[in-house]
């Protein structure tokens, strides 16, 4: 039904465009004057009047149709049945009616349910037809209204521009509203969590055993919600990742910008950037099936006890994933240092290496630092590699050969299996998510500030 409606709308809008254009041409010819706007703008103006109001109407109709139909169905049920029912019971009854109406019958329904289901179907059917008629009528009205407005000196060009402005604002508002929605949902659930677990315990407690029983027959943890070991685990893995990514990324950026020939650079740079395109789940395989066993064997050979899911394995692979971020941002920063700086240094009798260390890197430092901060925020938010390769038990340790867990891993495990949204186990995921969100947001803001500042310097 909706598909038909949209096809009809597009057809009417296209017709509107055509009529508008033709009328504009006709106006120009009959009055023998110049049009203020090109005929295409007149057409677009009419098409907007056809499409936009009807689309808005469809949106509102779909939002409210269900509620209205349900209300009508419930009020049609004999009042002796609904009397004394609580709101929850009525909701249950409505969903039963809906599934019967859709033909999903599990037990023989009460006769009044059957009746209500039939009523529901009829109402829905009518509503859909009514929507089609009303919306198309509005579209045609819009066409007529807009077409009447057209005249030779009608400023269709400006009107179309304004409408496009509005559409663009709408799109950016959608992005912003979504972000706000994410923050709000995180915040509300996190607040509910902190009603059950004190803030101090969460941020300073040293024991993390959140897997408490949701059903009575489950064997489960004691319910300790001290997130410090989770945070330190995240930081440990992120630190290992940066220890791998910063030197490799930075040195390859220096090599590519200052030493590599054009042809070599044109091959190597895309290959390096391809690392960013590898799905993280593939990195996860690599970490858990290749790197972790190799580290374990290497450790055994020199008498070190390496955990099978060591922080080192997960961190090292994550570091490899992050290399392209650091290398391409550092590359940009180094390339942006003006040629005059290099010339100035060479002319002082500096070698290439001295020029890089004493002039290029200090000048590019803000850009490089910005890149590193963005990479850190990426590292602490990275999920798939650590879910596959890091541990589940929160252990307070700085030993990279041990297994640690991270914020993202804990969020995933807390939301897998039984969930219950008035239980601190499930709600803890939102508190962790909020911490993660705030941390990466701050890192991103600082990084963008730093990068911006360095841009100002040379432009």
């Amino acid at each position: 039904m909706l598909t038909t409606l949209f096809i009809c709308l597009v057809a009417v809008a296209a017709a509107g465009y055509f009529f508008g254009q033709r009328k504009a041409r006709g106006l120009a010819a009959s009055q023998n004057t110049r049009l203020h706007s090109l005929p295409g703008y007149h057409g677009a103006y009419v098409a907007f009047w056809v499409g936009l109001p009807s689309l808005v109407l469809v949106l509102f109709w779909l939002l409210f149709q269900d509620a209205v139909v349900e209300g009508l169905v419930v009020s049609a049920i004999p009042s002796e049945i609904t009397q004394g029912m609580s709101g929850n019971r009525i909701d249950l009854l409505v969903s039963e009616i809906k599934s019967v109406a859709a033909g999903r019958i599990f037990v023989e329904p009460q006769p009044y349910v059957l009746e209500a289901a039939a009523h529901y179907n009829i109402l829905n059917n009518t509503a859909e037809k009514a929507m089609l008629v009303v919306v198309l009528a509005l579209a045609v009205l819009g066409l007529g209204y807009a077409r009447r407005n057209l005249s030779a000196d009608f400023r269709a060009r400006q009107k179309v521009g304004l409408t496009m402005d509005g559409l663009m604002i709408l799109c950016s508002v959608i992005a912003i509203v979504t972000t706000l929605g994410i923050i709000a949902s995180l915040l509300f659930e996190a607040i509910r969590f902190f009603e059950k677990v004190p803030v101090g315990e969460f941020f300073f407690g040293l024991s993390w055993e959140p897997q408490i029983a949701i059903r009575a027959d489950q064997v489960a943890g004691t319910g300790a919600f001290g997130a410090v070991p989770v945070f330190t685990g995240t930081l440990l893995i992120a630190a290992i990742a940066m220890a791998v990514a910063i030197p490799i990324g930075l040195f390859s950026a220096i090599y590519l910008t200052e030493y590599a020939g054009d042809r070599f650079r044109s091959v190597i740079k895309p290959v390096l950037e391809m690392l960013a395109g590898v799905p993280t789940v593939v990195y996860g395989f690599f970490a858990v099936l290749t790197v972790a066993p190799a580290l374990r064997e290497a450790g055994a050979a020199i008498g070190l006890d390496v955990a099978p899911n060591s922080a080192l394995a997960a961190g090292a692979v994550m570091g490899i994933m992050i290399i392209p971020f650091i290398s391409s941002l550092s590359d940009d920063a180094i390339t942006a240092v003006p040629r005059a700086m290099r010339d100035g240094s060479y002319a002082m009798g500096a070698t290439k290496a001295e020029t890089i260390i004493r002039v290029l890197l200090p000048a590019a430092l803000p850009g490089i630092v910005g890149g590193i901060l963005l990479a850190v925020s990426r590292a602490i938010g990275e999920t798939m590699i650590v879910v596959m390769a890091a541990g589940l038990i929160a252990k307070l340790t700085a030993n990279p050969l041990d297994a640690v867990t991270t914020v993202t891993v804990q969020i995933v495990t807390l939301l897998i299996g039984d969930t219950e949204f008035d239980n601190p186990k499930t709600l803890a995921a939102f508190a962790l998510g909020l911490v993660l969100f705030v941390a990466t947001l701050l890192l991103n803001i600082v990084a963008l500030r730093v990068v911006q500042k360095y841009r100002e310097r040379y432009e």
């Binding site: 100035g344 060479y346 002319a347 002082m348 009798g349 500096a350 004493r358 002039v359 200090p362 310097r457």
Partner: protein, 286 residues
């Protein structure tokens, strides 16, 4: 600012026996002919890839004099300048043939390290290019990489002397730790000159050093160039013939990659031998 400049002018006038004459007039032709030859170029060809930019240039550069290289855009004067301290080496696919001597050594010889050569032949660029470091660090950069100062006090002295020689000391002595990029354009250019002086070069190359400066800053830099002539050999590329006439003792005119004529500046501007030189200095092309 204005008074400082007036004093500086007054000083330079006393140096020339109080006469109000332009620097070019202070050195008579006979004097520069007697100056020893500092650098010699013999049959210098330069190629960028397959395109030849300079054709067999022969030129002698005299010590303690300012040599101006003039000519229309693209004539190869900057290319020639960059040959003198092998700055062309850092450009890919640039090839230099022929011989250039600094004193007795061929600077394109096999045993010459271009890095050490550039400490002897310093360079100042068209656009002031101080490093994004403090004023002090800008000057200390060269001495530091060449290990010229053991202790902090020695470095302080080098910095002060260089800034004094570049006539910048009084303006910046209270803010040596502030970034060099915060100075005005003219001050930045004098900072770059001070930076070049700090490594005690024998020759200073200047590639249109005033083209990004306003007339007052230009006058100060020109004055400075004239003072520096006492201790250094200076080669300057310029688009302004007035500037060449004001600051140089010898002038070389380049056209389409050829050195057309080289002589005393007075001679070039009053009595050029070549028709092309005459056309250029009278503004018939350029």
């Amino acid at each position: 600012m204005k008074t400082a400049q007036n004093t500086a002018q007054a000083e330079s006038q006393t140096a020339t026996n109080g006469a109000t004459m332009t620097p070019a007039e202070t050195a008579s032709p006979q004097v520069t002919e007697m100056h020893p030859i500092k650098m010699t170029a013999r049959k210098v060809d330069v190629f960028y890839g397959t395109k030849q930019a300079l054709f067999g240039v022969d030129l002698e550069i005299r010590d303690n004099a300012v040599t101006a290289l003039i000519g229309p855009s693209g004539c190869g004067k900057s290319t020639f300048l960059r040959c003198l301290n092998r700055m062309n080496d850092v450009i890919d696919n640039c090839r230099v043939e022929g011989e250039i001597r600094l004193g007795d050594t061929n600077i394109y010889g096999a045993n010459i390290d271009p890095v050490l050569l550039r400490a002897r032949v310093g360079m100042v660029f068209q656009k002031p290019n101080p490093f994004p470091k403090s004023i002090y660090e800008n000057i200390a950069y060269g001495p530091r990489i060449h290990g010229m100062a053991e202790r902090r006090a020695e470095m302080d002295e080098i910095v002060e002397t260089s800034l004094r020689k570049a006539a910048l000391w009084d303006e910046v002595k209270d803010r040596l730790q502030e970034p060099g990029t915060g100075l005005s354009g003219g001050q930045q250019q004098r900072l770059c000159i001070a930076r070049a002086i700090a490594v005690n070069p024998e020759v200073i190359l200047m590639d249109e050093p005033c083209s990004a400066l306003d007339p007052i800053a230009t006058a100060r830099v020109e004055e400075l160039i004239d003072e520096l002539r006492e201790n250094y050999t200076i080669v300057i590329v310029t688009h302004s013939m007035q500037q060449a006439a004001r600051v140089s003792q010898r002038t070389a005119f380049f056209h389409l990659g050829n050195l057309v004529e080289e002589d005393e500046t007075d001679q070039i501007f009053t009595n050029p031998r070549d028709k092309r030189t005459q056309d250029y200095i009278t503004g018939r092309f350029g």
